[in-house]
Symmetry: D2
Subunit: 153 residues, 4 copies
């Protein structure tokens, strides 16, 4: 399975009073990785989505799920967010993530497993719109198995 690897720099301000990257802020890190991976203008080959507020297409978030495996300290550098696609539906896709420690560190700790379901919406009609052929072609190389969440009750 092919994954994208997106380094996202931490900020000291991401920490909360426990001295770890805050649980909510981690979704901000995932958001940034997702945007760099998918939004037009990014460097990745998957960056084909026009998702600016004025575009004809919006990407709405339908659901998210996350498991926190270890607290993330301020590293004075980047975490490595690995990203792939578990499902390409008609108008939606499920993006999967793992947050690992800095690239090059051995062993690289695994901090987080997560998934986000995105629905592509026509901004005029506000209804789901089909994933375009060129989008599907750009994304298919990154199709893989869904994240295995182990803490669902």
């Amino acid at each position: 399975m092919t994954r994208l690897s997106i380094p996202i720099e931490l900020r000291w301000g991401d920490l909360d009073a426990y001295g770890h990257v805050n649980n909510a802020t981690i979704f901000r890190l995932l958001e940034e990785a997702r945007i760099r991976a998918f939004w037009r203008g990014g460097k990745a080959s998957t960056a084909v989505l026009d998702a600016s507020p004025n575009s004809e297409s919006w990407s709405l978030i339908a659901r998210q799920e996350i498991e926190y495996l270890a607290p993330i300290p301020y590293l004075g550098g980047a975490v490595d967010i690995q990203l792939w696609i578990a499902r390409l539906g008609g108008a939606s896709l499920e993006i999967c993530y793992e947050i690992h420690g800095p690239p090059g560190d051995e062993p690289q700790p695994l901090y987080v497993r997560a998934a986000t379901t995105i629905v592509l919406v026509d901004s005029t009609t506000q209804r789901p719109r089909r994933i375009a052929d060129h989008e599907r072609a750009a994304w298919e190389p990154y199709l893989g198995e869904p994240v295995q969440f182990v803490r669902r009750t």
Copy 2:
């Protein structure tokens, strides 16, 4: 089923460039509701948890799950975060939430469904610690059915 109802004031700064409360920031709202509901010093009868950084007990977040049903605008006021407990284990609990529109609005829109699994940890040994009797007694009145997530694939 008895729920806690915690009003959380929105801030204009919670909005992102789409003009809606940001998907990650919504976890910040849930966090604030959870803290007011459970941490000692809060007004709710459930506020019996000593979770300060220096306390003997920490509450770690093991997992979260969320479904976004409608975008939340800046309301110039509070949303109504309703909160209950789906499961009281030996050392962990699952907190469930719904975010509704401002109290008093009819009909009150339902914006979000979510759940957080908390593990109570002994801060010295770093190992899970049992929920104390007085905590269990304070929380049991708010036991209810788990959130029904409908968008899992």
Copy 3:
């Protein structure tokens, strides 16, 4: 001198790893107080400014200055942001603030002194636009002396 008194609820997530409300986040609190005081839809008599992204008028921030007198802890409640206007120019105004401890506390600690200069801009021409008569009338009762900053070098 007449001041507006705007209670702004703190969030635990406003704290940084030092356990105090973060220096940057304090500007978020001032922003929220300013918006509730001035933006149309707020409860204050000064809330006459149409500042939504789609309006004909934008309010741009030209400068800010702040002195931090004491660290702000998480209070499980609101700080009291007192707010007045030091200068009403042709197209700009200077808003002054003090952040005090919770209303009712005696003595109320003074945490912060700050000022923000706002320029009103025509969103079409992107040029400064004159403060309207009804705006000036609503704001004049809150004119007062500028904040005395004592730590400029």
Copy 4:
């Protein structure tokens, strides 16, 4: 005058509903640049300050001042935060900043001018402590003229 040049990556989540990096969030960017420049563990030769929550020394922020010259868009990359020291007192220092567009862009837009006054404090006595000789030696090469603020009234 010698300046440090610290690239700080923007996040899409730094934008507010106006679609520009939020005025308060800009202080978060300055904070991150300051930390990378001065805190032990950073790469810069000035990174000699032990400012962790448990250290014997704290760095408290006494004041900040900022002028916003142009709105900062989401660049999908880093801004260039240039940083120098305007004053090295007995126990305090004034850090000056300019935020420029991405390194390499010609012309590089100037977005922000700002200054922060830091006081070094003994964490036990809570009183100001003298800047140590090795700190002063590390910082002196970056002494320069104070920021010229032009919008004070």
